[in-house]
Symmetry: C2
Subunit: 286 residues, 2 copies
Amino acid sequence: MRNFSNEYSSLALNTATLGHNIDGFGAGWSPEKIIDACSEKGFGAITFWRREIGNKAFDIGNRVRDAGLEVCGLCRTPFLIGPMAPKPHSVMMDDLYSSIDMAAELGASCLTSVVGGVIENSHSIKESLMRVAEITAEIAPYANKAGVKFALEPLNPVFGGNRSCLVTVRDAIDICEMVGDPNVAVAIDVYHVWWDLTLPEQLIRLGGERIAGFHLCDWLADTNDFLLDRGMMGEGVADIKSIRQAVEDSGYNGFCEVEIFSKNNWWNHDPDKLLDTIVERFRSVC
Amino acid sequence: MRNFSNEYSSLALNTATLGHNIDGFGAGWSPEKIIDACSEKGFGAITFWRREIGNKAFDIGNRVRDAGLEVCGLCRTPFLIGPMAPKPHSVMMDDLYSSIDMAAELGASCLTSVVGGVIENSHSIKESLMRVAEITAEIAPYANKAGVKFALEPLNPVFGGNRSCLVTVRDAIDICEMVGDPNVAVAIDVYHVWWDLTLPEQLIRLGGERIAGFHLCDWLADTNDFLLDRGMMGEGVADIKSIRQAVEDSGYNGFCEVEIFSKNNWWNHDPDKLLDTIVERFRSVC
């Protein structure tokens, strides 16, 4: 397993960690300011959200690379199915293609997809996952041509009803295999998988080549908001080191991306100090 | 698969469904009134909670049987480990033995155990589950002698941090096998397992003899409180019929127990009409 206590250039920041995406939270740092701060503090890469980028994808991507960093991801596709997906389906598909285009302009190595909840009135997670596989198969060649990995992210089962009927790494691998395109991969997030004791065997089956991202945070024992109360690494119950071990045993040696949605705590910290805390925890806890 | 559209004596009521257990909710029906209503409406069994029983376990058990019903369960043991377990450990153990005694006096066929969250400061779900197995092994002979099945209930992973480090049927089976006492079994609850596509294969591995209870409700797509916002069968996203099929394919042919915690909706309905709704949904949806 890699040792990050001194050399930590594998550390990446997901900008959601600075609270950008909810009105009035975080310090409102621009992408440019985030890039400079991450560069100064020794981060190796940044993942952005579409809402921050507007029509500046090309310039922001270049600025990241000029600062010696990489863009390791773009969040995210629209929900593909379920109650929160754009309607009608053609509107969702247009937005899905746009998200691939933006990831390509930005030079992001992957585009994350949160697939959406169980299809309305279907009462069937199985049928919903089949639909996700079909849509993924439909757009995979386009993403492949654009040079953007399409990263299916299984979410914690608590989100199964509305945000993601894809709730296990196992089911994500099954979709990858149904689609059969090597460009379709999986994002592994501690928040979503920490409870799954089958993770090591599933990750071996997945293989490091098909891990398109590894996200760090922690699951707080008494979490009060499942969307916006994530913990900093070390303050929760997840066995982060064992999870990273399993991820690396599969062959993955890419970035470790810190993604903490924390409306009532971390988003209210000074971003500069927050980035320092992240570096410290990454070196000591992860 | 059994057909309940006409003959529904396999239907059981968990008294939590009437909102008894939160001050000011439900109609405050006594155990006796619940027994009479369930008997009149054709239910086959009732599961009670310890707080309702006090020192009346023997009498209430007899009254249930006199009314032609069975007591299919008692809820529940204290949390065995984790932040919500009684402290010190000896206090938890005393309460654990008391819960077995009460289940025996009541003539309940099983005692449900919600095992508690990840052990404080352990950061290890694995170590926590090992500790659950040890405690279960310690008390299993006592439960066996008392004629009470000890039912480990895996909860939805959302509760992994504080209420139950046991979050999958697979892990529950592993504990059963570690303990090796045929009296240690598993309770399957739609709310906790609806998202798990490996359920059919796990239930075959478990076997119907080791299913100590099958609990019905539904997972609402936009659930707003993961403890107290469960849905009535049919109003959520769970594929209840397929889950029951998997449970019965394993050899289970016992009661189907409706357990709905619903602070803002069902607990505010007239209990008499609520029981009618349950019967109707059981016959049509499950």
